[in-house]
Subunit: 208 residues, 2 copies
Amino acid sequence: MVTTQQTKRLLNYRTALHHLKNIGFHRIYSYTLGNEVGVSADIVRKDLSTLNVSGKKRGGYDIGPLIERLEDYFSIHEDHEVILFGAGNIGRALMNYSGFRKNKIFIIAAFDNDPMKTKTGNDIPIYPMVEAERFINQHGINVAILAVPANAAQHVCNQVISYGINSIMNFAPVVLKVPKRVHVSNINLYDELMNVFFMGRTLKEPEL
Amino acid sequence: MVTTQQTKRLLNYRTALHHLKNIGFHRIYSYTLGNEVGVSADIVRKDLSTLNVSGKKRGGYDIGPLIERLEDYFSIHEDHEVILFGAGNIGRALMNYSGFRKNKIFIIAAFDNDPMKTKTGNDIPIYPMVEAERFINQHGINVAILAVPANAAQHVCNQVISYGINSIMNFAPVVLKVPKRVHVSNINLYDELMNVFFMGRTLKEPEL
DNA sequence: TAGATTGTTAATCGATTAACAATC
DNA sequence: TAGATTGTTAATCGATTAACAATC
């Protein structure tokens, strides 16, 4: 079984491998790759072995095929379509975020209740919320990003699930209640940053 | 010892408790709070017991003092000052993000290399990068947010560490290499969203 | 009192690390 | 060949879960 933690490491390996390839590497040792993403060589080897990738004893892993295997595993070469709820600060930043587009993730529409924010001429149209159900069905969308205010999040969440969404990336500082079949990934910017402050205060270890 | 995971749960408890208080609760059971943040009652009790908070057998925990204890623990009532590097999409969204200000986290300045983006009239001044060292020293800043392009991230990171920063929240899709005394929290939006797509494809469990 | 809930100790589970044989 | 690295199995570590006595 592949866990969420492992999945995130695999995505990290992919990023690191692209970087290493760009700077001229063709082969990589588990030790080097681990160092690059901040995990041990043992974990790298174990992760890769669960993907049935094998290296050469003493020769390491070929970067090209390894990237291919990772990208196949995540179906990275396919287009990924997602819709966005909430065209506020965070929502707009995500619409313009090139890191998605470069990797074939496309926010194909946004939805907002504020009529001031809806407009359809742009790259990414922003529709009123009432259009969401039709749009989701028409385009067969499964994944939604929630960047709505905290007090609206659970309500919008319930709605989009009823329209057929089964995976949600949630930026609202609320732990959403969803049926088991729905997957939610929470990004709580305040918690993350507060935690950074806290760790900075706590960590007083000697320098490397 | 309090782990990072535990720390994040504690912040989640705080948010949930504020919510519960707002809707009229004064007491809470470990079971209820756990349900609210998606963890077991056992974990809630254990977490709270490491904070030396005690409840009443059969009566649960008083919400008011519990919130106080959590906010003391994180020094939430103090002002927290942080500076931002990179005034692109993500950077600007963070500058306008009310979730920080509401909780006494203030981005007091931003830095960017692009002269088109620097301006000082606004709420949050945006300075050229060369001003960073002076600013950090003058204001005694320890925490920085990095929202710069991937290819600049390690360089900017090295710089800010040399200026005295010891805690970093990093939005660039790069695993930063830092001395042990420096704490980094990575937020990789692409990885998160790709993982949501992946989980949506993987999870085909029966409905709740 | 009986029932419910806390607080803590013990058992389980899973993930990381260590160890090492295989082999290039 | 000797040395280095993979791939896998066993040992360790830590976190979650189960169990249960204390008690309101």
